[in-house]
């Protein structure tokens, strides 16, 4: 039992994950004894868990522990960033969802589910072992189905159904892939030994297995071909859930894809498949978003395209040193920016179509500013951090010998201009505002402001 010797230190190394889990348990148990009007306490617990997790992650990031749990889990910079981004994103999600969730009959369950899914996303990002990958996939996905369906409307149920069925199928594909990889690799599951174990294995089988695992992970990443649920769920679910599911799972999944591709032997050119899926995602997402009029559906498609951009550095894994920093930075920037957009949506309940945002600049200049920052950010314009992310990603692609991917990214960015501006332009004209809901949700409003500001600040501070 070599593992048990270091058990204590291992658990300390995964303190941020443990804190999330503990938070989930406390929220769940505590929530069932808390009167409806006192649920803010549960929220406080959740926030405390997230903040504690983020702080622990920060300390962990300062001195990464390396592989733990017999090498099945990696506590390195990437994991640290995933922990930080997931924790802060979930915080932002809770912030933007305060009004929507508060007083809901399952408020505490919502927080528990958010925390559980966050844990899943983090573990997915840190997994350095195919088996851990599988269970992390499950941990991340299952709460997601509940979050989507929780609104209990027809659309929410439909979204949950689609999410579930796609998640189940792709989970099976993932497990099939893992089975093949374990089978041909002599049962080696840890990434550290996988490269060597697979190097001598039949390349065809390895390729098939790797593609299956990759495609399975695409469910969580929301990229082609696992993207189908994203727009439907984003539209059908509550704003809080939509904001969460278009952001947090991706963070873990993309880092997981990164690690997986890194572990595959050089003879099996998985990068090529990643590149193809990246191009497919960004192109499909952008083209489909062009014609949307419902804001949340538009954002859903937009995230599909963003996953395409995020896959670019993965497509050049091992060919440039820039791939990892590019991916991590873009992830962080994307998470903040995307959540800002959702926060604006959350702050203005009842505005479903682009037309409803006409004249927003006049009625709520601050929100309009946040919307502008987030949409320009998703577009990739300075001074938002996604600009730098996009730059890094394109640079990494070019540097990794895939300059054509950078060109595809640029062409796609041009196409995306169409729908981002179609939202932005009427919102920021000085036309007479369409005042569908005179009330602005305060917490969501503040989340939007915070997101907008930090989306810019990340560029200046973090990139130092």
């Amino acid at each position: 039992m070599a593992g048990s010797m270091s058990m204590g230190s291992d658990v300390v190394a995964v303190l941020p994950e443990v804190l999330l889990l503990v938070g989930a348990l406390v929220a769940l148990v505590g929530g069932s004894f808390t009167p409806r009007e006192q649920q803010w306490r549960v929220r406080l617990v959740t926030v405390a868990a997230l903040v504690a997790s983020a702080v622990a992650a920060g300390f962990g990031l300062a001195s990464p522990a390396g592989p733990v749990f017999s090498g099945t889990y990696d506590v390195d910079t990437a994991t640290g960033v995933v922990r930080l981004v997931v924790a802060s994103s979930t915080l932002l999600v809770i912030g933007l969802g305060v009004e929507e969730v508060a007083g809901h009959r399952q408020e505490s369950e919502t927080y528990a589910l958010l925390l559980l899914s966050s844990t899943g996303a983090v573990v997915l990002g840190g997994a350095a072992d195919l088996l851990v990958l599988v269970v992390a996939f499950l941990l991340g996905s299952i709460p997601l189905y509940a979050l989507v369906g929780q609104a209990r409307t027809g659309a929410a149920a439909e979204g949950a159904m689609k999410t579930y069925l796609l998640g189940a199928l792709l989970g099976i594909v993932l497990m099939a892939g893992v089975t093949v990889l374990l089978g041909v690799g002599g049962g080696e599951a840890g990434y550290a030994g996988l490269t060597a174990a697979l190097a001598g294995a039949p390349a065809g089988a390895v390729a098939a297995g790797a593609v299956a695992v990759l495609v399975g992970l695409m469910f969580k990443a929301g990229g082609v071909p696992g993207h189908f649920w994203v727009p439907d769920a984003a539209q059908g679910a509550s704003v809080t859930a939509a904001a969460f599911l278009t952001t947090v799972p991706k963070v873990g999944a993309l880092v997981a894809v990164f690690r997986l591709v890194e572990a595959m032997p050089a003879a099996v050119d998985v990068q090529l498949v990643v590149a193809v899926l990246a191009v497919a995602s960004m192109t499909l997402g952008n083209l489909a978003a062009l014609g949307q009029t419902a804001v949340r559906r538009l954002l859903g498609w937009s995230t599909v395209s963003q996953v395409g951009y995020l896959l670019l550095p993965v497509a050049v894994v091992g060919r440039t040193d820039l791939a990892e920093p590019a991916l991590l930075f873009y992830l962080a920037a994307y998470a903040v920016t995307n959540l800002t957009a959702f926060a604006v949506v959350a702050a203005l309940p009842g505005r479903e179509s682009l037309e409803d945002y006409r004249g927003l600049g006049r009625a709520h200049p601050c929100l309009a500013g946040a919307l502008l920052v987030s949409l320009l950010g998703l577009l990739g314009t300075p001074p938002t951090s996604v600009f730098l992310g996009k730059l890094l990603v394109a640079t990494a692609a070019w540097d990794g010998g895939a300059g054509w991917l950078a060109v595809v990214l640029v062409v796609n960015t041009v196409a995306s201009l169409g729908y981002y501006l179609r939202w932005c332009a009427p919102a920021l004209t000085f036309a007479t505002p369409v005042d569908r809901s005179p009330t602005v949700r305060r917490w969501a409003f503040q989340a939007a402001t915070l997101g907008g500001v930090s989306s810019i600040l990340i560029l200046i501070v973090v990139s130092r």
Binding site: M161, K162, L165, L166, L169, L170, V173, A203, G204, V206, A207, A208, A210, V211, A212, L214, V215, V224, P225, G226, F228, W229, P231, D232, A267, V268, D269, V270, L272, V273, V276, L277, A280, T283, L284, L287, A288, L290, G291, V414, A415, L417, G418, Y419, L421, R422
Partner: protein, 667 residues
């Protein structure tokens, strides 16, 4: 006052005073404008007088000065023999014309005086420029000032158009100077040539290496021919007659047009060095002298006649530059300036008084104001080249050298001289032939006030310059007479022995002039002087210019339409990207309309552009529609049906797996 300072003042003084007056005359309030108008002419005349004094000073002192301008190419000014003669002459004419204008111009006096002074400054700079940048600068300002002066009466569209024609035509020639400047740069004159140490100096042009030298010579030649209204640029001078008469007297006799000839005289060594440029100049000059002589003879409008005659007379100057007769050319230039200024002022005086410049209306006009009539007679006789008046000797000083170069040139030149006598004779006969009987008088008077309301008086102030100029028209004949012409040659730094006309030529030309004059007198009295329409219409130059302008404007229209289509195409693309079906539909409609409209007009050069744009349109249209379709397709895949999602997913998964397996195995 040191000569260099005098030189600077000669240029800057009138410029500054001119700008101040012009601005005061336009932008000051009504009361300020009234004050400016009252003060304008005293100030202007004083400035002109001072300029004349300064001109004399610099002519004596021969200073030079330079101001840094471009890297290695300063603005150089300097007075040499040639400018020492021309600058005072121009200054004198300016002074006289301004005095006349004092009496003649009645509205916008400050603006007028200011622009005239500005123009004077430009001419002084042109005449004293020793580097190409200085020359080009002055040259173009001169053109702009002429635009403002020709279009002085801006309420009438045709006068402004005339100014536009003048400016654009002369600028077309000016492009030559730009080329010349570039050629000098290309030839390595930036930063200083061999002889002067000053960048892009005019004096160094002749020493350029052959290729660039030819470029420079061609450029200068075109620029000079344009300003001097030589063939084929002559038409603008006809249009310029829309300007006030004092303007014609200064710009279109002594100064601007003359500067074209002057420039050629100045760069004569360059022309000679290339060989071909000198020959070309000589022939263009000679042919202009003949062709525009015919045109002048056919005119029925006094100012038009004088304008054509100006071109013709400057033809002799250009001829002089071509054959190397710098002395004769200079003499011709100065003498013509005096004579033509006189004649234009006379025409202006009559125009102001009688309201007409039609010859039919000026019949017997010489008798009404004797001083004016006398001056007119002196001027016309001088223009005719009749002994002992000015142009007789100076023209022969040119022809004498031409004969040495080529008898054919001499013969053509002599024909030109005969024609000058003829049109001058026509003027003489008309203005001195009193109308007899009531019917004829009525015919004449009917023309009065045809162009403006006549004042029926010629003020004393307006008559004074005429007297001075008339004296000059006689006195300047000495410039071409053997002893004095040698003196002039000495001043100009030319070989005195080669200067001046031979006695034989003087006699021949005198006889020819008198004969032609006599013949015209007879013909006019018999009313059988031919006035062919083609000659009256300035050889069709006007029609040709109009055709060119129309063609350019049509081309511009086509280009604009093509450009709009290009823009629409781009908008279509943008809309396609945005992809909203409705918007894209309307963009399509507009695109279609654009394509149809363009296709309907595809002809000529613009047709080619149009067709190209048509292609661009189609492509853009295609891309836009394609993007739109793709957007629809992308969304169609999202059917909402789970089993479709599953099917697509399986296909993608299978394709990816099989693809990679094949790729990996077959590699």
């Amino acid at each position: 006052m040191t000569p260099p300072l005098a030189l600077l003042l000669l240029v800057l003084g009138p410029a500054v005073v001119g700008v101040v007056l012009a601005l005061a005359g336009t932008t000051a309030g009504p009361r300020g404008r009234a004050v400016a108008d009252r003060a304008a002419f005293p100030v202007a005349v004083a400035t002109a007088a001072a300029a004349l004094g300064l001109a004399a000073l610099v002519a004596a002192g021969r200073p030079s000065a330079q101001a840094p301008f471009l890297a290695g190419a300063p603005l150089g000014l300097g007075v040499d023999g040639l400018s020492a003669v021309v600058v005072p002459a121009v200054a004198a004419v300016v002074l006289l014309v301004l005095v006349f204008a004092w009496a003649d111009v009645r509205e916008g006096r400050a603006r007028f005086a200011g622009l005239m002074l500005l123009f004077t400054a430009a001419v002084s700079l042109t005449a004293t420029a020793t580097t190409l940048p200085a020359l080009l600068l002055a040259w173009e300002v001169m053109g702009a000032a002429s635009y403002a002066l020709v279009g002085f009466w801006w309420r009438e569209d045709r006068r402004v158009s005339a100014g536009t024609t003048a400016f654009v035509t002369t600028r077309a020639g000016d492009l030559g100077l730009y080329v010349a400047l570039a050629g000098a740069v290309g030839g390595g004159l930036l930063g200083g040539g061999s002889s002067t140490g000053m960048g892009l100096a005019l004096a160094d042009l002749a020493a350029l290496p052959p290729g660039w030298r030819d470029v420079v010579a061609a450029g200068v030649l075109v620029a000079a021919l344009g300003k001097a209204a030589q063939l084929p640029f002559s038409w603008w001078l006809s249009r310029a007659m829309e300007g006030p008469s004092p303007v014609s007297a200064l710009l279109h006799s002594a100064a601007m047009v003359a500067m074209g000839g002057y420039l050629l005289l100045r760069v004569e060594p360059l022309l000679a060095a290339t060989g071909w440029a000198a020959t070309a100049a000589a022939w263009v000059g000679a042919l202009t002298a003949v062709a525009l002589g015919v045109v002048a003879l056919a005119q029925r409008d006094l100012k038009q006649l004088l304008a054509a005659s100006t071109s013709a007379q400057l033809g002799f100057v250009v001829l002089a530059a071509g054959v190397g007769a710098v002395t004769g050319g200079t003499a011709q230039l100065v003498a013509h300036a005096a004579v033509k200024a006189l004649l234009f002022l006379v025409a202006g005086a009559w125009l102001t008084a009688l309201g007409t410049k039609q010859l039919a209306g000026l019949r017997g006009a010489a008798g009404i104001w004797p001083v004016v009539g006398g001056a007119a007679a002196m001027g016309a006789l001088a223009l005719a080249g009749v002994p002992p008046f000015a142009l007789w000797t100076t023209k022969d000083a040119v022809l004498h050298v031409a004969l040495e170069t080529s008898p054919a040139l001499y013969a053509v030149g002599l024909l030109g001289a005969a024609l000058s006598a003829a049109y001058a004779g026509k003027v003489l006969v008309v203005v001195f032939r009193r109308a007899k009987g009531g019917e004829e008088v009525e015919d004449v008077v009917e023309h009065w006030d045809g162009e403006e309301q006549g004042t029926r008086e010629v003020p004393r102030l307006a008559q004074a310059p005429l007297v001075v100029l008339a004296v000059a028209a006689l006195g300047l004949a000495v410039l071409g007479l053997p002893p004095e012409v040698r003196l002039l040659a000495g001043v100009l730094g030319q070989d005195p022995a080669a200067a001046g006309a031979g006695a034989v030529e003087l006699v021949v030309s005198g006889v020819v002039a008198v004969a032609a004059l006599a013949a015209v007198v007879v013909l006019v009295r018999a009313e059988r002087l031919p006035e062919p329409a083609w000659a009256r219409a300035w050889l069709g130059l006007g029609a040709a210019t109009d055709a060119v302008v129309r063609w350019v404007l049509a081309l511009a229209e086509r280009a604009a339409r093509a450009d709009d289509a290009l823009g629409r195409g781009a908008v279509g693309l943008a809309r396609g990207v945005v992809g909203t079906a409705g918007a894209a539909g309307s963009a399509d409609d507009r695109l279609d309309a654009g394509v149809r409209g363009l296709a309907g007009r595809a002809d000529g050069l613009a047709g080619v552009a149009t067709r190209a744009d048509d292609g661009v349109d189609r492509t853009v249209h295609g891309v836009a529609a394609g993007t739109k379709r793709l957007g629809g397709l992308a969304r169609r895949a999202q059917t909402g049906q789970l089993h479709d999602y599953y099917a697509q997913l399986v296909v993608v998964l299978g394709a990816a797996a099989v693809g990679l397996v094949l790729y990996v195995s077959l590699r």
